[in-house]
Amino acid sequence: MADVAGSTPEPIARLIEEFHRLPGIGPKSAQRLAYHILRVPEREALALAEAIGDVKRRIVLCSTCLNITEADPCLLCQDPRRDRTMVCVVEQPLDILAIERAGSYRGAYHVLHGLLNPMDGIGPEDLHLRELVERVRGGEVVEIIMATNPSLEGEATAMYVQRLLGPAGVRVTRLARGLPSGADLEYADDVTLARALEGRQEI
């Protein structure tokens, strides 16, 4: 962004730089966003700044399930109607939203905040696994549902958790893997098709 530094006033250049750091924002988009902020009423721009500040100041991780929350424990962990003997383990907070949207799960969650990725050097100590082990040690948990992606990393993470917690006497299950609705059989990969066949159900 060297070209910007010379001809653009410093505060704008700084804002462009900040936008440029965001994922998916290239130099042109960053410029457009910065000039947009310059044009909008001050109230609107400050509301954005405040929202960013609030996210960083007021959002914490739930001490039980590691979901992002404003109140600790989070609303899901406080809810007395939820079944605490079942813990659904997910990669990231967004996965909880997806499962809640589906609306058929009434148990508790645990967010790992990542997946094992040996090639990138992400190991068990980089995930929130210790907290999961503690929860299982607490004795209330009967079943762990591994809801990690059906990718190499997701599978490795699920198998790792199974090996870690299986001996502790807890039941470790895995989300079924098969064909997504609206899929084309013709384009399905061998692993997905084989698993869909294995998991077939009577109509």
């Binding site: 994922p23 998916g24 094992l116 040996p118 090639m119 990138d120 050097g121 190991g123 068990p124 990718s151 190499l152 599978e155 490795a156 198998m159 790792y160 199974q162 090996r163 870690l164 299986g166 001996p167 997504p180 609206g182 899929a183 084309d184 384009y187 399905a188 990969d189 061998d190 692993v191 997905t192 084989a194």
Partner: protein, 271 residues
């Protein structure tokens, strides 16, 4: 430069994936004739992507690619071998990931190397078919070094070309192989290998991976070979492969209910 066709077909093993933007990924592929290369799969992270499962790392796939300005773009992908038995077992996954990382790190882009492709293919087939993961990893390391021009001298002293006695002998990456007792002082760092370990390495060099998978190694011997080869690999790579730590973590886990074949290399009964 001769005009290249706009699309081309190849077959390869997916080594790794990096996500790009909202729904795209960049995959690193090792192929027989194009060598190692990166290419983009557009929209592959969407549920309804037709290429998704066919581009999973550690899958052997037939690929159709379109030449792009900087990176080529996948237009079709079809699985040749999904290696399910590897995916369903933690030790096998970890070993396959380790081999894929070595294949990635030891190569540069677009350098044709059919031998390496065949070697990685053989390693994945062996892991999928039930060969002990430790044996596959050692075999892969040894033959990878040969293919990359770092063949270890195992028959005579790597320093003086003199005869090797059937006694404990130094394996020195710096010297390029086994070093006799007289040359040991000037050979630099390395590990002392017992006579059995030396024999296993020579055997690994001379047979195919399937036959090597039949060799019964007790735990002590397997550890000895693992440590010695790890040092050699790190020397030539000038760094520690990242997946090695994961192999160690997996090896330290309790129980192996998922193991396909009774581990020979990692036999829990020990020698």
């Amino acid at each position: 430069m001769a005009e290249r066709p706009r699309v081309y077909k190849t077959e390869g093993i997916i080594l790794r994936r990096r996500n790009l933007g909202e729904a795209d990924s960049i995959f690193t592929v090792l192929s027989a004739h194009e060598g190692k290369f990166d290419a983009i799969a557009k929209g592959v992270r969407k549920t309804r992507s037709r290429m998704r499962g066919h581009l999973e790392p550690l899958t052997r796939s037939r690929l159709l690619l379109a030449r792009g300005r900087s990176l080529d773009v996948f237009t079709q992908a079809e699985t040749v071998a999904p290696y399910r038995a590897i995916r369903d077992d933690l030790e096998r996954s970890a070993t396959a990931i380790y081999c894929a990382e070595l294949a990635d790190r030891f190569t540069i882009e677009h350098a044709e190397n059919p031998g390496l492709y065949e070697l990685l293919l053989a390693a994945l087939e062996a892991l999928d078919g039930g060969s002990p993961p430790g044996a596959v990893a050692r075999y892969f390391e040894l033959h990878l070094l040969s293919l990359m021009g770092y063949e270890l001298q195992l028959d005579a002293c790597a320093a003086c070309r003199g005869r090797l006695e059937p006694v404990e002998t130094l394996l020195s990456a710096n010297a390029g192989g086994l070093v006799c007792e007289r040359c040991r002082a000037k050979a630099g760092a390395g590990r002392l290998l017992g006579v059995r370990a030396m024999k296993v390495l020579r055997y690994a060099r001379n047979v195919d991976i399937g036959a090597f998978g039949e060799v019964r190694l007790d735990q002590a011997l397997a550890k000895e070979l693992e440590g010695a080869m790890a040092e050699v690999i790190s020397h030539f790579l000038e760094r520690e492969p990242r997946a090695r730590r994961f192999l160690e973590i997996v090896a330290a886990l309790p129980g192996r209910e998922n193991a396909l074949a009774p581990g020979i290399v990692e036999s829990e009964q020990g020698p």
